[in-house]
Symmetry: D4
Subunit: 163 residues, 8 copies
């Protein structure tokens, strides 16, 4: 991996997914992980997804995150075109509350893994963390930050006072 | 449309889907509609799907049918690459009984329609019929057959005797 | 088909479905496809549905769209009376969020296909597109528009900038 | 009501529903209630359903029972054509276990009531009992039998010995 | 049945159900059917339910309606204590949207029928109609009103104009 | 509590529930807790349930367990008649796989708690354990046995060897 | 049990659960049961949960209540570390409406019982009541209060007047 | 990472999960990835899980896989104790078909990511692949094998002949 290059690529199926995906980018920024973010739709721009994803490995990108709602094919489509680890964020929907996005993202057939997160913003936050955890396996600074973050999270819980 | 050319293309995500898809081909054979059938996976052979689907229109094929289970991206992926009518068959699954396949197939976002059938064999049968109905709009022989088939179906119900 | 005649018939089960169905009519208007739209209920005016649907074919109408919620029998009832392609739009419901409408619309038994769209407005939009795709098979102008629309949709995605 | 005439009409959507519906007819036979039973499909023979149902009232029939599976439109279609009480039996399905039949049968819109029973054989049994309960309101012999049956049911529970 | 006596008894599990149950009473008032309405809870006042229900038959009441939410035991409890026809209204809930109320009301075991309506206000309206349909079997005036109501409902649909 | 008297009462809605409930009795026997077991149905013998449950407290019984399937009103009905702790076991069903039993048992309204276990045999086993845990609060011998059982359970896991 | 010591421990997974858990503490206060309440997360502070729970028994605490949402592991984790009775409150979630919390809390495997309440505030209220019921088995004052509370609850229902 | 040391740790909640987890180990063996496999239950041996997981990082293990069914807390519990990437396999269940396992595994709250796979054997297979993909980011031999495996998978699809 070249220093300062993009480490994580984030794709989302529609601009309306951005509010959710901001949870991911906040985490990556906090951890000092470089990323790029694009709207690319498995259904509306399938060839752009293909072209984009097929170049990720040679660019040194290490983790790809796909966020999509409804029949959420994006993460699965990314995984079809790369052997990089792919993380899926099922976007909440107004009708079926994200159950459709969840089943579409998580129920991947044998051979094409997608690391599915929980529905919506908590899942988007966790997608950022998982990406960092994967990168931290070979980045001591990041690993230390991850451990510190975990301790801080526990400390924050400990500080809560209930009257 | 050239006479005798393939009218309907049927894709399925895995060979195990064939038992279900046979219900589709039986209908097409009964109606004398020419078809071709292929195993092409949105997840395992995405570029093959793209290449195959992008040539369908110039070959004079008029309807495409995609059958897949679990995170059933096939019909949606086909629809992403063509403006031909796409029919989706959600394959029954052992775990979630096809609810995953159904939601993945039917919950298509704005812009990319998939005509979703019922789960499993009844859906596969109906996919064949819908393809024939679309073709029958410009094929008088087929239209007559469709009408006759509908009358026969009613007649078959009428003949049932309950003791 | 006679020029200028109605090409697509849209039925809805209740006037409250109109807000959703407007997504369908906008698409048909954009594509210059002629349509007529009626409130006809499978449950409150069943004989009107029968009478109306049985005349569709002789009037040269080519596609029928049925939108209904809850126990959404409308699309299935239409399909029971015609061999024209029938598209179903499951209307969102406040209680079960459209899961009832979806299962009632999509789970058609063997012999009576309904092309089910996604729940609510995205499904209504796609119903319009699928109707156009079917008509475009024998209408070069429409086919060109469909292809242009697909390119525009991709272009619109490409123009999105994320800061 | 003429003596010895048919009191209850039972329709089912397909011959395969008969195994379930036998639970209904057994109850009616036990209570000495006259009935007729027919396979008539809301989807395959819609006009036969209409014709049949519209004559029920003048024939002195008092209760109608409809049993169907999947997108179970039968009971609702019957209710659309009569003001007699309509009882719906959602048939168990192999894919969604009758959840589709249940929601299609029970989620009737305002204006068209269907008295929905539980899924499958227990529901079919109860459909027979409910028909008898309705008839018993004006049939003292039947009312006495209903009360006796309720006492017998309780007595049967009381006789169960657990070692 | 004594003239002017109460024909229909309506029970609800909690005062908060009243907003929904008002849909039932409006229908009964429109049809001139006499009724009484009480808050009686299967869980909080079980013995009151028992005492109340066991006297219904001797008072000449002919139909009982039970409305309850969540683990909606009320209609089933009523049915346990009477052989009068019992109609159940599953009240909408904020968490599971009435799916809990629906399954609790409709999935009655063999021997104890409850005529389950759709979730919430549409179901409450239909409960009123079904009660009238049952009474109308032996009340010509009511039967005529039911038929007129059905015609009016159809007429109301026919008058809807879509611009 | 009198020595040797019954400590736990187990009710089940139907004899067919016995296979599941045997998991509960095995636990109670292992812990040397005295119990009695009866088939009493909230729907078929409601007054027997009332009479039986209302005497439990004076008999010194301390925990009541109710097992039922489908619209599983039994545990809730028991809880309506006693302030003893009530444990509910949702029995697995063939159609909705126990989802109906679960929601009927667990979704109790404010004021009437039922301690709901998991669906089927694991829940029945745990019902036995929870009863013992409650009794163990004032029974040192039982508390020691509970702690030993927990250690044994851990030990059993530790002994598993995977080749 | 030492007089005036803490009798019930309440844990919640996040501070946002407090609004729901206040329903539990109100009940305990009404019944004069002493309790302590803490935010301790099975996922963010697992070792704190372990340490805290392992000391509960020696401190004379008799009932533990765990409230958590989403993948609600808290109650199960508590139950893993103690043989005291554990009550679980599934917190309502915005996406899956608490179905995730419910299944995570209730579907405990063989050996580790959790007494699951209904989703959200009604469940939190009932958790308080169940804790009191367990304590009341050996506290006459509390038992009398429980019985009075049950009578008051019934009386409150009886006082409701419907105009 | 030391050469020849264990790279992947696999935990499962019960020995009965082994049949599913064998799909994971087959993949790891095929890719020449070293692993160890243990039965450790979040509910029955929580402290063993803690102790085991807290040592994983210092042992140079890089990925942890947790497989569990029902209220599947195992993967989440692992993730609570480590910042290594954690993959969750929801085990199929006989009652709710793995929907309980899925929601328990995937719906992780903010801060504690679990990479959830599909239910059952396909998910177990994919867990193995995702572990390899993560390791392959810094293991050229493995990356080449991953790419070859992806090509082979595509080739296998291409070789399928449908008669």
């Amino acid at each position: 991996m070249k220093k300062n290059s993009v480490q994580v690529a984030i794709l989302m199926g529609s601009k309306s997914d951005l509010e959710t995906v901001r949870e991911t980018t906040k985490v990556l920024e906090d951890f000092g992980v470089s990323f790029e973010i694009k709207v690319l739709s498995a259904h509306r721009t399938p060839n752009d997804v293909t072209r984009y994803v097929e170049k990720l490995a040679v660019r040194g990108i290490q983790v790809v995150i796909g966020a999509a709602g409804m029949s959420a094919a994006l993460a699965g489509t990314i995984a079809a075109h790369t052997v990089l680890p792919v993380i899926g964020i099922p976007i909440e929907t107004t009708t079926l509350r994200g159950l459709d996005s969840l089943l579409s993202t998580v129920q991947m057939p044998k051979g094409i893994p997608v690391a599915c997160m929980s529905i919506g913003k908590s899942g988007a936050h966790n997608a950022g963390l998982l990406a960092c955890q994967i990168l931290a396996l070979h980045d001591e600074r990041l690993m230390k930050k991850m451990l510190q973050c975990k301790r801080d999270m526990a400390e924050a819980v400990r500080k809560i006072k209930i009257k």
